[in-house]
Symmetry: C2
Subunit: 138 residues, 2 copies
């Protein structure tokens, strides 16, 4: 699991440019059919919402431009799908990610665990995921 990092000391536009370049490379490298992104409705504050929007907007646009299916899941959908309960705590979700992916330790950083949880949510909720499970159990 990898996390794209940018330098907080850099100007915002340059940090977003780095994010865009690295995200585009990842899409080119892995050629995913689907890209699942967290949909955040309620942020602590407007400034956080703006920053989250700036980063997620890039991912949404690039994924769509690459022809990927783009899906957004709310935090509650992720908690529900991964930990079985929409009110599950962050640590429960991380623990479930560890178990489901058979990792020896909790995934770190927490952002990587969140990303893995969203991927697991998509696997659980997408029609293809459902069909694969049906095929596997038949």
């Amino acid at each position: 699991m990898g996390v794209i990092r940018t330098k907080p000391s850099e100007p915002l536009a340059n940090r977003l440019a780095t994010l865009r370049t690295e995200f585009t490379s990842l899409i080119a490298e892995f050629a995913p059919d689907s890209v699942a992104i967290e949909q955040v409705f309620f942020q602590v504050n407007v400034r956080t919402a703006m920053a989250t929007g700036q980063a997620s907007g890039l991912a949404l646009a690039e994924a769509a431009l690459a022809g990927c299916e783009v899906i957004q899941y709310t935090p509650n959908q992720v908690k529900d799908a991964v930990a079985g309960w929409g009110g599950a705590g962050k640590e429960q979700v991380q623990k479930m990610v560890q178990v489901r992916l058979n990792l020896s330790t909790l995934p770190k950083p927490a952002d990587a665990a969140d990303a893995a949880a969203i991927a697991l949510t998509h696997l659980a909720m997408s029609p293809m995921g459902r069909q694969l499970r049906q095929a596997a159990s038949s």
Copy 2:
């Protein structure tokens, strides 16, 4: 003056992809040295902040990737630079844009007037703008 429009009926990722494609074409067509973008601190609500962030993030990233100087101005800076007063109303700013750009009518839609106001702000505030005015008046 042009405004990039996307269909509200389309999925968010597709709308952002359209915005990204058209913005990239505009940058390629006009090869600007500088791109000035409104910096919105206080939005009516978190959802608006998120949407504004998603659109502005694309512009910030693409402009930086194209090697442009990227500058953000707050609404108050724009009002101050264009109408001479940070507390100026939207209509006063639009009227000043019309006068400054020698337009026969108020620029429409209002978003285009806002964009023109931001460009005028950059012209007034950037060092190059200052130098040009000094050169012209000497």
